[in-house]
């Protein structure tokens, strides 16, 4: 069971969190023309990298904040965690 550092609450067990997938996916802006391909990429296509992965976790049994976790998918090593508003371009 992972031990995830929530930037709001501190280190907590994985069973307090829900997984939320790739954190680098950006939703196309509202009211913007989007091609089929672009939309498909956003809705369906995800990379499944071996190694570093920036992903979302939702602290559902804690502060209910979505956080970003940089984790190695093969070793589960967690390098760093971020608040939702960090790492946004």
């Amino acid at each position: 069971m992972l031990y995830i550092f929530c930037p709001h609450c501190g280190s907590r067990s994985q069973n307090e969190f829900a997984y939320g997938g790739d954190a680098t996916v950006k939703r196309p802006e509202l009211n913007k023309e989007v091609s089929d391909q672009e939309w498909d990429n956003f809705v369906y296509l995800r990379k499944s990298p071996r190694g570093k992965h920036l992903e979302l976790w939702h602290h559902i049994s804690g502060c209910r904040q979505w956080i970003k976790v940089e984790r190695d998918t093969s070793t589960h090593e967690i390098f760093k965690t971020y608040k939702a508003d960090e790492l946004t371009e």
Partner: protein, 998 residues
Amino acid sequence: MSQDFRLDNIGMVNRDKKISFTFNGKKYFGYEGDTIASALIANGVHLVGRSFKYHRPRGFFGVGVDEPYAILQLERNNERDPNIRATEQEIFEGLEVKSVNCWPSVNFDIGAINNFLKMFFPAGFYYKTFMWPPSFWYKIYEPFIRMAAGFGEASIKHDKERYEHKYEYCDLLITGSGPSGLASAYAAAKNGARVILAEDKPRYGGSLLTSDVNIGNQTGVEWSEKIITELKSMSNVIVKNRSQVFGYYDHNMLVMSERISDHLPQTQKYLPKQRLWYIRAKEVLISSGSIERPLVFGNNDTPGVMLSSAAKEYMKVYGVLVGKKPLIFTNNDSGYETAIEFKKNGVNPLILDTRKEPSSDIVTEAKNLGIEIKFSHVVVAAKGYKKVKSADIAKISDNKKDLSNIENIECDCICVSGFWTPSIHLASQSGNKSEFNEKIDAFIPKKSKQKENTIGSANGKFTLEETINEAFDKGYEVSNKITENNNKVSMPTVVEKKSSEHDKFWCVPLPKGKSYKRFLDFQNDVAVTDIELALREGFRSIEHVKRYTTLGMATDQGKTSNLNGLQLVSDIENKVVPQVGHTTFRPPYTPVSIGAIVGREVGKHSKPTRKSPMHEWHEKNNAVFVDAGVWLRPRYYKQGNETLFEASKREAKNVRKNVGVCDVTTLGKIDVKGPDAAEFLNRVYTNAWLKLPVGKARYGVMLREDGIVMDDGTTTRISENHYHMTTTTAQAANVLSHLEYYLQLVWPGLNVNVVSTTEQWAGAAIAGPNSRALLTKLFPNSDVSNEGLPFMGYKEGDLFGIPAKIYRISFSGELAYEVNVESDHGNFMWEKIIEVGKEFQIQPYGTEALSTLRIEMGHVAGSELDGRTIPHDASLEGLVSKKKDFIGKRSLSRSSFTKPDREKIVGVVPLDKTTSIPEGSYIVKDPKAKLPNPKLGHVSASCWSVEYDNPFSLAIIKDGKNMIGQKLFAMSPLKNKTIPVEIVSSHYVDPEGKRVRA
């Protein structure tokens, strides 16, 4: 009582307490502190089972977790417990155990015929023998394998025992209380660290219990007792016996199973049978010791052949002799320690040492005691079927290839020692890549992967002095890192006998003309020839060899077999062991009972049960409950001998005719607040929300980004910046997460907050033509007329002094209201509604009537919004705004979502107006069409229409819009029914929606 193999003056069992137990129906006696194994051996019993494949007789091989043979089935309080290791299970009064893997009995086992049909059981026999002809599989092969396989039978009854889970944190977890575990725990605890010391056996001390050493002028046993006593008295230390740390998981989470009651006749009050500990440790010291390696020779699986360290432990801990004419077969000094122990207890052993001329303190001591030793000698084969009777021994040449002077020697046990294998399982589970150590012919842990260090013999340190020094240092070093204290305890002096080097010899060659089976894996009957065959057939990777031959699989996970298997592969392949590598160690280290893994989360406790504030009233009024997610909801209120069908019909009819009240507390409720709340809802829902006035509710549909309907419900504007959102019972949690996702990550600029208020409000839906009259009486101070509170209106009211919220919304399709009060007043509200409603013929109604009402109205619910439907399919396309953008909108223009014959919801009525259509039925054009019959869609929900008094169903079918009026068939292969039906509009009752607006 005489026990032929019990020694009088040695051992740690309690001679004052005799315990009787039965094995295969026969009664035996032992002492408190005995295991099944030690007690049976004391009684001269060695035949305890049959092997997995050839059903060869099986005895005892080890004395602990490594035991590959003595797997028994335990029966206690009419409950069966399979896969019990006789070497671990302590006896208690009335214990009943029996052999597994044998039929009809352990003495006469019909499966032993397999032993003579070896050609059917070569390596990979699963894949080969039982392949052809295919028709044989069900009738012949499978029943045969099922009868022959397995280690006992699981109980099919409910397990009444209690199992608990516990979460614990510590600075330092130490796995094993041998010399390294004790020393490091002591050093760390004295330095202020919070320590957990886990020992899988009942007694602490590990090898100190059996070795002839001196620590700080005390015997090993005295020293370990002193340390344990002191550790137990310290408040920063938890010491646990009968506790196996079996898994090393991510981020230094280790799991330990504590056997609290397994050694007792029954579980004590307030105590569980077993407890599973989830331990998050800052640091871990793995001190799990090492396991003696077998030597490989002919018939080395015969009962009476066992590890020499086991024979010593049976003497020193249990006071039991494994034999009276022991043969010790060793390639190192450990065998001598066992021989010396035999000698001290009046038994004359014979030592066969594969080495030519070893010299060490221990060898000298053995010589001085007059023990007979044959150097450069090996056991060629054990003789005897159910028990060792003699052994063929031989002199072996210096190159270890040739045997000479083969002779037969009488003996009743063969104690083997092929040196030691560190137990690196936990380190390996942590991700530590082990390395092969030439000096000890075994793998030891390499660089720490997580926060773990391996110490003592688990780390390949085989002298006590090295072990103790390393453990004291590590205990201090690790604790210092955490506590930053500098309290160093002084190290005791250690006196031990010096050993000489072991011989790398491990497998005795076959004499000319002999084809003895030489076993590598005792539990799975994997012999040298099986590995040879697998390699001849082209298997190279050790992982493949393992799976093909089953080497190292099953409950002992190859604790005694792995290294010899690797040796053999590397010998044949002309490689060295590190080139071959070892298979991956995975948790659990030892078998864990399913009950312990599940813990308290069984049956009703597998999830929380949520009850509405009106639950007690429902109970008192004969409600029959149904699980709705985690909620318990009244399904119907039983009157007299009513069936579900009759009761729900009555309740639904009463809603259509008079008025009914339904507990809708379970609906998800979310408060949406903030200046941008309207804008947010406008993006979340498919329809328009910007112009909803205060005091008005609106029905909304929300999608996922892929265009599939996620949920629906009404949301009410309570004040300028405050909305009250409702969700379905099932989706409440998901919707909240969904909203939080968009607010926190996608549109953080929106100034909106959401919070669940589901539990804050108790809700009652009042539905039926009399509902307004009732409401008028409930809220005499409020104007609830059609003008004062129109359809989709909202207002606050005073319910006999209790503030209430009144929403004019309807799920039943009747004139209806939903009244919410704070949860604490829920029961008061409910009782008032029932009391005041009497004159209007009010009846409570449950979820079954609720379903009936919504189905015949064509209102969609979870069975239609099933994660596969878009708004169009549920006839909700009118709610999809063409003007604005919202979550999932772009997906709705995908070609498959816009094709003209897209599925759509319809109503289905049986032509005979009497046959109910099973939910899940397929709608087809031709019931006799060739299979697979093309299906148009499926029936999502069925009811008995109380309006028309005939069955009515909803279905989602292809091109549904154009199917109305057609005569089709509903087929339910499960119920074996084919029903001619007519397709009608899904809005079966009041299609114009006049009633809700009345």
